[in-house]
Structures are given as structure tokens and as C-alpha cells.
């Protein structure tokens, strides 16, 4: 029995409405409990901000990030964020580390832990390549992991939607999650992945997918209904059509509106829209490009059925990686950059392209502003999850820097002062004076995630929750984040303590222990008769079209580290 008592912590836990109150936290055997014995190890957290461990609900940290590493060996040496990037020799406790945007697996675990993060969600698992994702998960130390499986351009999905077979569709989703050991349904540029199989794309919600006689809107609705029928813990997780195109904010709002008719089967959103920064562009071309954030935020403020994340841009080098194959090809052609592509048979597409966000480029400056505008214009922080869509908008190691933008208008003004007039004319950020406090920041970095992923034991400090805890050497009330942002950044860059399942993994910003994390996956129950009928259809798919056999397609249990199976009961 291991016990820890965190004494006099200044606790910020929005799930319980606790706003920086001094409290003790008791831990026994990895969980938060009411009380501990006198033998408990004591951590003195007096004067320290204490929150649940951070939860990155949308990051690219296993799978196609390996393509990013492969094509960018130069990234290994980048040291743009001291202590959280570049080459670090092995120690008795840690494996060797490299990288900035595309760190090796060990560095990902250590660096997230240093930031006080304890859980991550890999936002795109191709079913056929899921085993690879789990192999990388296994080598990411400390963190708990989950992944979202791709369904948005899947032949079987599109056929069931076209043929109006919603029950079989749900059964297929349940099977796909089991096969890939995934946690939820990810939809990237619905239909666009299949069109990219022919070098094409879809242009919006009602543009038919070549050869499949369905539209992106039908794919979205079909999957959302299946998602709710299965009562999955997370809603559908949507990367909208037309990503990265001027004028796309309209498609984004249209997509959000579509989901007004979806009734969530659990106490969570009906829709999560991801990296909205890349989907909140106004204008008609790159010449008259401007922010569309106010329109999107306006809609979100009046809606109660969705959550979203930012995809905040960080200036400097980034590596874009997405299942949106056509977007990556367009990026590579436009930027004259190298381009990797991987289309996945019967399922989806993907691409990887490095790029550089420069504050001197008016487009990049406006992109930077849009992410912040979205976070600040949307009034309810419970609708917002903070991300950089790492490493698409920038690496997660820049989160502390980005927090200062959210918490300090002065800091924003400093950055903005370097922008061109043209950039300033295209954004609304300079007119926004809202500054987030620590409570709101905690909502966006842990509490929203707890709710939107239906993980009541994560992202909060309630009795019974996992003892995943971050203690930062900073005290709300004694520090003014709007002016003392240097201290804010410093404190969030190296937690005084990070506890993972009640074990001290980081102390004074250094790695103490490297336990293995859990892997969450969803096993959704489907009536046998429907499952059998569905299996017949996919047997045919495997026989005729796939290049691997069905039995070898399923991720074997041996690939899952400390698996946590989340069962759900489908409604049929």
C-alpha cells in the first residue's frame, strides 16, 4: 500500500468548482482518497498551484509521426525550447532523447510529464496500421494513452451509409474499434480520403464521393448516429472538409449546424470539431485571406452541442501530418516542400509535410491570431480544449508559451507588435482584452477533456479519481499572469511535481521515475445477429480487396500495455 499526502496545495479543479483553495490531497495505491495513514509520504505543496494531470485530447504522437521523423532527421537537433527539445543523452533513469516537433517516443513521454501532462490521445489511427500505433504507444513512457480510429473515407462505412444499413454500420464501427483497439471515431475530411485515391478531393458537404454515391454530410450523420447508437464515450471527432482553404469557416459552421440534430447518448457533446484554427478562414483566396474566427465563435457561443480544440500556431518550424491527403499534397506544392504520402487501402489517406510559420508572413500571423481568437471569443471555456494539434500547429513543448498568450494581453501585444499592417487588418485579436485565469486554463487543459472523453477518473482531483496530479511552482493570487508571464511560462515548463497514478514521476522539472502507462480502448457491444451479418460483408472485403487477412488485421492483445477496456452497451 503506497500512500502520499500532498499538504497545503493550492488546488484548482474546475470539475468540482474548486478555484485555488488550499487543501490536502490524499493518495492511496494510485487513486485519490479521503484520508491516509500517518505513514504516508508527505509532499509539501504550500504555495504551489495544484491541478489534475494535463490531458492532451488531440495530438499526433504515434503512427504517422514516424514518417515525420523519418523525413526530417534535422528535427532531432533542434533545441528551440531549452530543456524540452534537442538531443539529451541517456541517464540511469531515462533513455536518450532527440527532437523538437517529432521527438522520439521516450522524449514524448518525458516532456509531456515535465509539463504536468499525464494522458494523451493520438488523434488518427488508420485501422490497417493500428498495430504500429500501439507499438509506439508501448515505447512512450509514463503517459496513459488512447487513440481515435479513422472511419471517414472507409469503403464499408460509405457502403452501409449509401445502402441505409445503420445497424450494420454501428456493428462495423464497434468491430473497427476492437480491431484497432481504438477509443473513438475520427473523421478526417469525410469522403476526401477516397477522392484522393484518384488524386482528387471533395469540395464540401454535398459534393459526392467518387464511385460511392454518398456525400460528406451523409458520412458525418451516418457515423454520428452510429456513434450514439453504440453509446461511445467520445462523440465523433471531426476534421472538417476544406481544411486550410480561405473561406472554409462557412463549411465549418455548416458542419457544426448539421450536428444540431444529433442527440448525444451520454452526458457529453454530440460533436467535437478539431483544430478549428485551420478551419476558421475567411476571404476567397490567399490574397484576401482573413480571420473567420468571429463568425465561428459567434455560432459556438449560441450552440450547446459541441466542443472544439484550437490547433494553435506556434511560430517557427512545424511538421504537418494529417489523414487529409489532398491537403498535404497542396501544401507541398504551394510551399515547394518535401512531401510524404500514405494512402491506406479501403480506408483513408494521409500525408506529411514540414513547414515554417513566420511572424513575417501575414498568412501565418493571421493563423496565429485565429487560434487565440477562438479561445478568447468563445465565452464558455468548457467548450474549448487547448491544443496546437502537435506538431501541426507547433510542438506540444510550446504549450507553456501558448498559455502566456491566453493569459496576458500584454504578451499578445508584444508578439503582435512585430506583425505587418496587412496582417493586423485581417485579424481581430488586437481588440480582444480577455485574459484567462488559472481556473479557465485548467478547464481547457484538463477538465473539458474529462467530460468530452467521458473519463470521470481523469482530468480532476475528486476522491476516486486517478492520482494524476501536476504541481506547479506558482501561486495564483500572488502572481499576476497578465504581467508576470515569464514566471508563468517557467512554472508550466517544468512541474515541481508530476504524479502519475500516485507515483512521483517528475520532481523539480526532472524525471524521477518512468512507469508504463495504460492504454484505453472501447469494446462496444452489438447484438450477435447483426454482428454476424456485418462480418459476412467484411469477410468479402478481406477476400477480394484487402492485402492482409482478417485474422492478421486485428491488433493482438500483446501489443497493449496495461489495457483498460471500456465496455459500452449499444442500443439496437
Amino acid at each position: 500500500m503506497s500512500e502520499i499526502l500532498i499538504k497545503n496545495a493550492s488546488v484548482c479543479d474546475p470539475t468540482q468548482g474548486i478555484n485555488c483553495e488550499t487543501m490536502d490531497i490524499c493518495i492511496r495505491d494510485g487513486k485519490i482518497v479521503d484520508s491516509v495513514s500517518g505513514n504516508a509520504k508527505v509532499i509539501d505543496a504550500e504555495g504551489k498551484l495544484t491541478m489534475a494531470g494535463g490531458f492532451d485530447g488531440h495530438t499526433h504522437s504515434a503512427g504517422k509521426i514516424n514518417v515525420g521523423r523519418f523525413m526530417n532527421p534535422n528535427d532531432a537537433r533542434k533545441t528551440l525550447v531549452p530543456g524540452l527539445s534537442g538531443q539529451v543523452a541517456r541517464t540511469e533513469k531515462t533513455r536518450a532523447q532527440v527532437g523538437y516537433n517529432t521527438p522520439n517516443t521516450y522524449a514524448i513521454g518525458y516532456r509531456y510529464a515535465k509539463l504536468g501532462y499525464t494522458t494523451i490521445c493520438e488523434a488518427a489511427i488508420p485501422l490497417l496500421a493500428a498495430r504500429h500505433t500501439h507499438e509506439e504507444f508501448k515505447e512512450i513512457p509514463i503517459l496513459d494513452k488512447m487513440g481515435l480510429s479513422l472511419f471517414g473515407s472507409n469503403w464499408q462505412v460509405m457502403e452501409y451509409i449509401r445502402d441505409k444499413e445503420p445497424e450494420k454500420l454501428a456493428a462495423y464501427i464497434a468491430w473497427g474499434l476492437r480491431a484497432s483497439r481504438g477509443y473513438g471515431v475520427k473523421i478526417v475530411n469525410p469522403g476526401g480520403g477516397e477522392a484522393w485515391g484518384w488524386g482528387r478531393n471533395v469540395s464540401g458537404l454535398y459534393d459526392p464521393v467518387p464511385n460511392f454515391d454518398v456525400t460528406p454530410a451523409e458520412i458525418l450523420m451516418g457515423l454520428a448516429e452510429a456513434n450514439e447508437r453504440l453509446q461511445l464515450p467520445h462523440s465523433v471527432h471531426v476534421h472538417c472538409n476544406n481544411l486550410g482553404k480561405p473561406g472554409n469557416y462557412a463549411t465549418t459552421i455548416e458542419t457544426m449546424k448539421l450536428f444540431e440534430k444529433i442527440k448525444p447518448s451520454r452526458d457529453r457533446q454530440a460533436l467535437h470539431v478539431t483544430h478549428v484554427q485551420f478551419n476558421a478562414y475567411a476571404g476567397t483566396s490567399w490574397r484576401d485571406f482573413e480571420t473567420g474566427a468571429p463568425m465561428v465563435a459567434d455560432y459556438v457561443n449560441g450552440a450547446n452541442h459541441l466542443t472544439f480544440d484550437l490547433g494553435q500556431v506556434i511560430f517557427g518550424p512545424a511538421v504537418t501530418m494529417t489523414a487529409d491527403g489532398p491537403v498535404e499534397y497542396a501544401n507541398a506544392r504551394m510551399l515547394h516542400e518535401k512531401w510524404s504520402n500514405q494512402d491506406i487501402e479501403l480506408e483513408d489517406a494521409s500525408g506529411v509535410v514540414p513547414l515554417f510559420y513566420s511572424p513575417k508572413s501575414f498568412v501565418n500571423a493571421v493563423q496565429w491570431a485565429i487560434g487565440l481568437e477562438l479561445a478568447l471569443l468563445v465565452k464558455d471555456p468548457w467548450k474549448v480544449m487547448f491544443t496546437t494539434d502537435s506538431p501541426n500547429g507547433g510542438s506540444f513543448v510550446n504549450y507553456p508559451e501558448a498559455f502566456t498568450y491566453l493569459m496576458s494581453a500584454k504578451r499578445r501585444a508584444e508578439v503582435i507588435s512585430g506583425f505587418s499592417k496587412m496582417a493586423l487588418d485581417r485579424m481581430v485579436l488586437p481588440g480582444i482584452d480577455r485574459e484567462l485565469d488559472f481556473y479557465e486554463l485548467a478547464v481547457m487543459t484538463r477538465s473539458t477533456q474529462s467530460k468530452m472523453y467521458s473519463r470521470p477518473e481523469k482530468g480532476n482531483l475528486k476522491v476516486g479519481s486517478d492520482a494524476d496530479i501536476a504541481i506547479y511552482d506558482i501561486l495564483p493570487g500572488q502572481i499576476d499572469p497578465s504581467t508576470e508571464y515569464v514566471k508563468v511560462k517557467e512554472a508550466f515548463s517544468g512541474a515541481a511535481y508530476t504524479l502519475k497514478s500516485g507515483e512521483i514521476v517528475v520532481k523539480d522539472g526532472e524525471i524521477e521515475e518512468t512507469p508504463k502507462g495504460k492504454t484505453y480502448w472501447v469494446n462496444a457491444k452489438v447484438p450477435e445477429s447483426i454482428d454476424t451479418a456485418m462480418q459476412k460483408d467484411i469477410d468479402r472485403k478481406f477476400r477480394k480487396y484487402y492485402t492482409v487477412s482478417k485474422s492478421n488485421y486485428m491488433v493482438e492483445d500483446s501489443y497493449l500495455q496495461k489495457p483498460v477496456e471500456i465496455g459500452t452497451e449499444g442500443v439496437f
Binding site: R69, V98, I344, S549
Partner: protein
């Protein structure tokens, strides 16, 4: 009589996963679906070459010893070495590769794979221009134009054409071979070329010229092309470019004829650019014809664990990568390593003389199921179980799809994974004692 279905063939980079194996009395008695290469591996045609027991060289002779003794001797070599080369690891599981990387990290060694002498330049090309690729099923279901460039699947990947490429049938390729154009570019008329609709014979080492010419034409500059290019008449090159542009889906499969001929990685770099250009007109991808069944896996594991796909030097405690300097042959030719650990590969048969001469001078640890020319110069020989037959584990197909290889029969041999683990534990123990 156990019959195991959907076994994965651990011979070539095609990694066929539809093999049916019958096992009687712990012996494989029947193989279905495998090609002749796969057959010979499964039924143990090489059985007579198995290393029967661990061995240590004493007074010039390899003498049998128990595993523990061999592991201890190997660990001593590693602990006393200041610059170990760890090489091979391509005909074994990803789990063994992962262990080998950890061992290299802890001993400050350089670790490199057989890509050093085959598709290493493909990785360099990807670092220059990216790798526009697809899984093999995309080719099966969509491709109407397939090029085999500098490779000969009829002999090296016998089932590739039936399962994934020329002869396969898919949703949009119902007619199979009849609905496809198959083109071979090579320096000699291979057996693959004999099956092609058109064979383009190019001069040795002139791949880059031909790719560049194709790019020029695809981009609208056919006027700059001379009457003959790379030994091919201009008309033929124009026709090829036209075929590519008008295709619905093109795949270029390229082999060592491209990666190891003159211009090396620049060939892949140019080919990647050609694919990018072609996508302005049609859909096009490229896939490297990887040879050993898990050479792709080594690259994958090394990349996620160290940031680099090959030639990784841990002497500074962190991974340092500079192929040309830190590749296995670079090191050996410079006479740098003072010990070597060679697993699941045979540099004795494939490396240049100068490299082998140096290998012969230094203590060499060999981990392998089979005796080969490297055994002749090894000082410690540790036999291992054959992955995919006697041991399970992960391998990556040439298109980076990973599959779980099955264990089909029991074996008295330790697996590579276990050997590496034991070795690492022993090294730690010796270091602590020191």
C-alpha cells in the same frame, strides 16, 4: 495434426500473410500458398546450416558452450569495447530490434541495418524529397499503370505480382493483368521484363537521366530532351511520359537497381519529385521493393526509438546520425570498430573486402540461426530461433504495414529477443561490478 492458417512468411519484404502450415510432431510437413522461396524457408531446406549450439572460439576453433557462457563472453567483449558496431537485425523481429537498440544505447555503440547496402539511399531520398507512397492494396485496387524499376520480383518477391501488383484484381481493377499496363525499366531483360507490356532498357547507372527527362516532359519541357537519353530513344521516353500522365493510378516499384546504381539517393530524390509532378495530372505513388522481410521494421523501430532510421551512433549518449560517416561500412573501412555484434545478417558475404578484413581483426559476436561466412570470423556464436517459425514477433511489410509473425513449432533455441535481453542484463551486471 495442427493446421495453422494465415501464417506470415518471414522471407521477403512481401510478407505474405496467407500461408497455411501443417505441423506434425513439431515438424512442418506441409506448406500451402507460399512461393518457392517461402516454401524452402518453412520446410527448413536450410536446416543443415543451422548452428546447433552456442560456441566460443578457443585457440582458433569454435567450441560448443552453454548459452550462459556464450552470453557472458559476448558481454565481456561489449564491456571491454570502446567502439562497438552493431549490425544487421533485418531478418528478425521488431522486438529484437528494439532490444538491440537499447543495448547499443547502453554500450555507446553504433547500430546499423542491412539497409546500409540496399535501400539506405531510399531513406536519404525521403529526407530530401519525401516518400509519396501507399499501402499495397491501393495498387491492387486502383493501379492501371505499374512500373518495376531496377527490380526483379519474379525472382526476389515471387508472389508480389499476384498478390499486390500486376496480376492482382481489385475493386477498380477487375480485369487484373489485362486491364493494366506493366512496364519494366532495367539494364537487362529480366524475367520480370519478359512479362511486361513494355521493357525499357537503360544504360547502366543512367536512371537519374531518365527520371529527369520524364520530369521535364511531364512539366511541359519535352524540347530539352536529346534524341537519345539514358540509351533510350526520345520517342520511347515521350511515350512513357504520356502513358504515365494519362493513367488513372500509377505506381513505381523501385529496387536496388535504382538505389545502388550511380547517383544513389539522388535517383530516389528525383523519382519522388517525378511522383509529385505526376500528381498534377493523375494519381501516382512509389514503393521501395524491400528485400529482407523486416528491413522496413528496423527502420521503423529505429526511427521511433532514436529519431533516425539507420546508422545511429550512441557514443555521445544520445543518437547521432550521419550516414556516410556512421554507416557500418564507413566505420569498418576506416578501421574504427574494436568489436562487432552481427545479428540476422551476413556481412561476411556482402561487405567489401576492406570492411571484412577489419571485421576479421576484431572480436565478433554473431547471433543467427544459420551458419554463414560471418561465422568463419566470429569469436562468439549464439544461435537463435527462427522468427516466424520458432518464435513470434512483429515485422513490417515493404509498405510499412506491420504484421504479427506466428510461432509455429517449439524450438530449443533462444529467440533473438531473449538473447539481446540476456546480453543487456549481463552487460549491466559486469558494468556494476567494474
Amino acid at each position: 495434426m495442427p493446421v495453422i492458417k494465415d501464417a506470415v512468411c518471414s522471407l521477403c519484404g512481401s510478407l505474405c500473410d496467407d500461408i497455411t502450415v501443417t505441423v506434425e510432431d513439431n515438424k512442418i510437413t506441409k506448406i500451402e500458398n507460399a512461393c518457392i522461396l517461402g516454401q524452402s524457408k518453412f520446410v527448413g531446406m536450410f536446416k543443415h546450416d543451422r548452428i546447433e549450439t552456442p560456441m566460443i572460439r578457443k585457440d582458433g576453433e569454435l567450441v560448443p558452450v552453454p548459452y550462459e557462457e556464450a552470453i557472458e563472453a559476448a558481454a565481456k567483449i561489449l564491456v571491454n569495447s570502446r567502439r562497438t558496431l552493431s549490425y544487421g537485425w533485418c531478418s528478425t523481429s521488431c522486438e529484437a530490434v528494439s532490444g538491440a537498440i537499447q543495448l547499443a544505447e547502453e554500450t555507446g555503440s553504433v547500430i546499423d541495418s542491412t539497409a546500409n547496402v540496399c535501400h539506405g539511399p531510399t531513406a536519404l531520398a525521403a529526407q530530401e524529397k519525401g516518400a509519396p507512397s501507399a499501402t499495397l492494396g491501393e495498387i491492387k485496387n486502383r493501379a492501371d499503370v505499374i512500373i518495376f524499376w531496377g527490380c526483379n520480383p519474379v525472382h526476389a518477391h515471387p508472389r508480389h505480382m499476384v498478390r499486390y501488383s500486376s496480376f492482382s484484381k481489385g475493386l477498380f481493377t477487375e480485369k487484373g493483368r489485362k486491364g493494366r499496363k506493366m512496364i519494366v525499366v532495367d539494364v537487362r531483360k529480366t524475367d520480370t521484363a519478359k512479362l511486361a507490356d513494355s521493357y525499357i532498357e537503360i544504360e547502366q547507372g543512367s536512371d537519374l537521366l531518365l527520371v529527369t527527362a520524364l520530369r521535364s516532359i511531364v512539366n511541359g519541357h519535352e524540347d530539352v530532351i536529346p534524341e537519345t537519353i539514358a540509351g533510350v530513344p526520345k520517342a520511347e521516353v515521350l511515350e512513357l511520359a504520356e502513358t504515365l500522365k494519362n493513367a488513372k493510378f500509377v505506381c513505381i516499384f523501385f529496387g536496388m537497381g535504382v538505389t545502388q546504381s550511380r547517383s544513389k539517393y539522388k535517383n530516389g530524390d528525383a523519382m519522388s519529385s517525378l511522383i509529385s509532378d505526376l500528381n498534377q495530372h493523375t494519381k501516382a505513388v512509389m514503393i521501395g521493393m524491400r528485400g529482407h522481410y523486416n528491413v522496413t521494421g528496423f527502420g521503423q523501430v529505429a526511427t521511433w526509438e532514436t529519431g533516425f532510421p539507420m546508422a545511429i551512433d550512441f557514443s555521445k549518449g544520445y543518437p547521432y546520425y550521419n550516414p556516410g560517416e556512421t554507416g557500418a561500412n564507413d566505420l569498418l573501412v576506416r578501421g574504427e570498430p574494436d568489436a562487432a555484434i552481427i545479428a540476422a545478417a551476413d556481412p561476411g558475404a556482402h561487405f567489401p573486402q576492406k570492411a571484412i578484413r577489419h571485421l576479421a581483426k576484431i572480436p565478433v559476436i554473431q547471433i543467427d540461426p544459420y551458419a554463414n561466412p560471418t561465422t568463419e570470423i566470429a569469436d562468439v556464436v549464439i544461435p537463435s530461433a527462427i522468427v516466424g517459425i520458432e518464435a513470434e514477433g512483429t515485422a513490417y511489410r515493404m509498405d510499412a504495414i506491420s504484421l504479427r509473425m506466428k510461432k509455429l513449432i517449439e524450438s530449443k533455441f533462444k529467440t533473438d529477443e531473449e538473447i539481446v535481453k540476456d546480453l543487456t542484463a549481463k552487460v549491466r551486471e559486469l558494468k556494476r561490478g567494474a
